[in-house]
């Protein structure tokens, strides 16, 4: 076998044409590859442009559709009906000290002398794709002036509470920050029944107990994460 191979390789009459033609073929292929890569670069740039044109056309159509839809909605439904439609497309949520409240949760422990309750309404991209922003905003309830109606907060007289409203384009958040709480104090929050239904929360009265020795690390999450 080895000798046969040796004979084959030693025979320059066969070896040289094979290697020579392979070399020529390789050169031709490399040239082809060079040309193909050039064209591929051009077509890639064109592909990117076509995708942009496609997206721009889709966006133009969506904007036109949405403008007409807004006109139809405003011309066909009264304010109450529009608010009802808007509310169906908003997700409402509550978090206490940065932790979203569970469906059946009615007692929450805090390790800090402050309690931050955030009520949020969220109309993400999905909702904005379904309804014009002007209509969605008709369902907005998270306003500072609504704070008392949405949720009643009971705390000791030496504690303080502050309300704030935050608008982050895809929704709004209303905060209730109770500070100067002493160990063992209980802060009670009572959500309006309508809001509890919107949030799909079964118990609308929640007790927040300030207990320094709570082991649960999750009870203390930075307030900044509270939007989730």
């Amino acid at each position: 076998m080895l000798l046969k191979l040796r004979k084959f390789i030693e025979n320059n009459k066969i070896y040289i044409p094979i290697v020579g033609s392979a070399g020529a073929l390789l050169l031709a292929l490399l040239l082809g590859l060079f040309i193909a890569q050039g064209r591929l670069t051009t077509v890639k740039a064109e592909h990117e442009k076509s995708l942009q044109a496609y997206n721009a056309a889709e966006e133009r159509l969506l904007a036109a559709n949405m403008a007409a839809f807004e006109k139809t909605l405003l011309g066909s439904f009264n304010e109450d009906q529009l608010i009802r439609i808007a509310k169906k497309n908003i997700r409402y949520g509550i978090s206490i000290n940065g932790k979203p409240l569970g469906k059946n949760e009615s007692i929450v422990y805090s390790r800090r002398p402050t309690v931050a309750v955030l009520l949020s309404e969220n109309y993400g991209k999905e909702s904005l794709n379904l309804l014009p922003r002007n209509i969605i905003e008709m369902g907005s309830i998270m306003k500072k002036e609504n704070a008392d109606k949405l949720m009643k907060v009971t705390f000791n007289e030496y504690s303080k509470m502050e309300n704030n409203e935050y608008d982050y384009y895809y929704g709004k958040t209303l905060s209730y920050l109770v500070s100067d709480i002493k160990a063992g104090d209980i802060v009670t929050v009572e959500l309006s029944p309508e809001l509890a239904t919107l949030m799909e929360i079964e118990d609308n009265v929640i007790e927040i107990i300030y207990n320094k020795d709570v082991d649960d690390d999750n009870a203390e999450i930075e307030e900044g994460n509270a939007n989730g």
């Binding site: 890639k44 064109e46 076509s50 133009r60 006109k71 011309g75 066909s76």
Partner: protein, 230 residues
């Protein structure tokens, strides 16, 4: 003497053998290099060929997608010029169906439709139990939709046939015992279905039969109204 000669021969032979062996090794080494070169060349040809094929394939795929995107964008622009209203209606109908249940759509759009029984264009009183008409009179049903911006797909759910393409007025408004057809004339938000294909002659008697749904829409006391041509 002879021993010395043998030894020299032996040493010479040995030297030649060593020389020959080195030469043989060198040859094998060159052969190996030639073999490696051949293999490398063949592998390089295969690899370059494969890359070229993939590149060409990618080129055509991207070209096809590019054409598709441009065609789609042009299609959208064309549609926006020619049938924007239809697209707006479709867009609105899809969303409205998400916001309302079928029942809510029905009860909302039900009141947008009005039905009347007419003789010569004049509404017939809903308490009528017997109708007397004259020769050449025209009997018709008028269906009126309140002026609306809402899409047809949404609003039609509340009409008599509940937007059922297989249903029609002729199934709800029947004249028994005579041969006729219903002539449908649409004008904006109003459609009139007029009994046609016959002349009412003196003495003819027949019954107007209303479906339960149409009777309810007309708010008629009876679903069967005997008619006499006088």
């Amino acid at each position: 003497m002879a021993d010395k000669t043998d030894k020299r021969d032996y040493q010479r032979e040995l030297a030649e053998l060593v020389k020959h062996d080195a030469k043989e090794r060198r040859q094998w080494f060159f052969l190996f290099l030639k073999f490696v070169l051949m293999i490398v060349m063949i592998m390089a040809v295969i690899a370059a060929g494969a890359v070229l094929i993939v590149s060409i394939r990618n080129y055509y795929i991207l070209q096809g997608q590019t054409d598709g995107y441009y065609a789609h964008a042009a299609g959208i622009d064309r549609d926006m010029e020619t049938k924007l209203e239809e697209l707006n209606d479709k867009f609105a109908a899809e969303r409205l169906k998400l916001f309302f249940s079928q029942d809510e759509v029905y009860s909302f759009s039900y009141n947008m439709w009005k039905y009347e029984l007419l003789v010569n264009g004049q509404p017939v009183d809903k308490k009528t139990t017997n109708l007397t008409i004259k020769e050449g009179d025209k009997i018709s049903i008028r269906e009126t939709l309140r002026d609306t911006l809402l899409p047809a797909d949404f609003i039609n759910i509340g009409n008599l046939v509940r937007n059922d393409k297989n249903d029609a007025m002729k199934n709800h408004f029947i004249l028994s015992g005579i041969t006729y057809y219903l002539d449908e004339k649409k004008d904006g938000f109003t459609t009139e279905y007029t009994v046609a294909g016959l002349e009412f002659t003196k003495g003819t008697k027949f019954d107007i039969m209303l479906s339960v749904q149409l009777q309810e829409r007309l708010d008629f006391a009876e679903y069967q109204i005997p008619v006499t041509v006088s």
